[in-house]
Symmetry: C2
């Protein structure tokens, strides 16, 4: 489990996505909503990363399986946001188990 999480983060593209999601307002174009707590839609992440839809979706699925991001569906869009709780837990777990 911890290995899966380390692999999920051990990738340039996915780490960048995690970084960008720290500050949606400054890293992405305006969206239908103004609430950074809801997250960023896939299209914005895809364009910023310069990837095809399928590749972007695959990266996000890896981050999601590892627990680092959460999704909310509103209307047609799926918004991704950081799972700060699990991120903190992961850092703590590393400190203990590593």
């Amino acid at each position: 489990m911890i290995l899966e999480q380390l692999k999920a983060l051990g990738n340039d593209t996915r780490m960048q996505m995690m970084e960008w999601l720290k500050d949606p307002l400054n890293n992405f174009p305006p969206q239908d909503h103004d609430d950074p707590a809801i997250g960023v839609c896939v299209t914005h992440l895809q364009h910023k990363a310069g990837l095809s839809p399928s590749t972007a979706s695959a990266h996000l699925a890896i981050l999601q399986r590892a627990g680092f991001v959460l999704t909310t569906r509103i209307g047609k869009w799926t918004y991704y946001r950081r799972n700060e709780q699990l991120i903190a837990d992961f850092a703590t777990k590393l400190r203990i188990e590593l």
Copy 2:
């Protein structure tokens, strides 16, 4: 830098090595010295992991470049041990930067 460290740990074999090095006395056969603080020679790690010498050496080099292990050369042997200081720093850095 942090990405290099995440990649170094995101591998089954290398994580096992880190784990084994926590307790040299119980995880490896007796050596020329009795001091677990000096570490474990490559041959022991190689046999325990079931790898060829060159492959084991490559894995250890990756851990060393990431800073997670330190080496001491005594006589013909190179002993590997955990770098507890950097491991703790890494966990802290993750908590802050992730």
